[in-house]
């Protein structure tokens, strides 16, 4: 028997629901909101979040908070602070335009637009859904070609903290 009583183990494992958001969800929802407000400069791309069951069609921008670490400066007491690695995937099809050159140029403009959105730290902060974003900056941008699909992987580092106040949480189904 576990803490939830006999027969509740499977239910417990299905999901732990908290009224507050886990840090990865805060990152992805905040950036998703900011990107969707500026969807026009992404030239018809669909913005989706990392571990989403949403169907993805090209062109696509996928925001995924890949890793969440304790800041080294805070040692053994991270106190709800996080060093985060954010991966942004930009995919475009070479067949969406009259020529592959046009498709490639549009793809690269999408990447430039992503970079511009991520460089506007003040706006990202104002769209942060919970807690505080200290800062976010670009680490790398790698381009590749897979079949007839262009893809860029843009990596960012961010530092953020949960809300100061204790948030309510509950265990649900």
């Amino acid at each position: 028997m576990d803490a939830y009583g006999s027969g509740q183990t499977e239910q417990r494992n299905q999901a732990i629901f908290m009224s507050t958001l886990p840090i990865r969800s805060i990152v992805e929802e905040s950036l998703g909101s900011w990107f969707n407000q500026n969807i026009t400069i992404l030239n018809n791309a669909t913005v989706s979040l990392g571990l989403s069951g949403q169907a993805r069609t090209l062109p696509a921008v996928i925001i995924h908070c890949e890793s969440s670490n304790s800041p080294a400066d805070l040692g053994a007491m991270p106190l709800g602070n996080f060093e985060l690695t954010i991966k942004i995937y930009v995919y475009s099809s070479a067949d969406d335009d009259p020529s592959w050159e046009v498709a490639r140029d549009k793809h690269r403009l999408r990447c430039v637009a992503v970079e511009a959105l991520m460089a506007d730290v003040a706006s990202i902060k104002s769209n942060w859904v919970q807690g505080t974003l200290y800062n976010v900056w670009k680490v790398s941008d790698d381009e590749s070609l897979d079949g007839r699909r262009y893809g860029n992987l843009m990596s960012y580092t961010a530092f953020a903290v949960y809300d100061e106040g204790v948030q309510p949480f509950s265990f649900g189904n």
Binding site: T20, G131, T132, E164, F169
Partner: protein, 114 residues
């Protein structure tokens, strides 16, 4: 039962100010008093201490801007609301990266640098 952590403690992030001639990378601020007058009792134990004549010392490092003019010793450099007297300037470059400037400066408590 353990509970999820749902709150954080906010901390001061990064630098207090910016620089006009370089892209600031770090600051290092220290404060101390030069006069430390200790009064001892008959057993040689310090029972009173008087501190005075404070020094505020700062080290700023950054990457030089193309139009930036590197200041010289004895000039003033403002940082975070205080005008410091520049004591030392290091200006270093190598052929495969940016040019780095390091400024050491001091504020004397009884010298007005406004």
């Amino acid at each position: 039962m353990s509970t999820p952590q749902t709150y954080g403690t906010d901390h001061k992030w990064a630098l207090y100010d910016v620089s006009s001639f370089m892209t600031l990378q770090s600051d290092d601020i220290s404060q101390s008093d030069v006069i430390v007058a200790e009064v001892m009792n008959e057993q040689g134990q310090v029972i009173t201490v008087r501190l005075d004549d404070q020094r505020d010392e700062i080290t700023l490092t950054g990457i030089l801007k193309p139009s930036g003019t590197v200041p010289t010793p004895a000039q003033l450099i403002p940082y975070s609301g205080i005008n410091y007297i520049i004591m030392n300037v290091d200006n270093a470059g190598v052929n495969n990266t940016f040019r780095k400037v390091s400024i050491k400066a001091r504020k004397y408590q009884y010298i007005t640098t406004a």
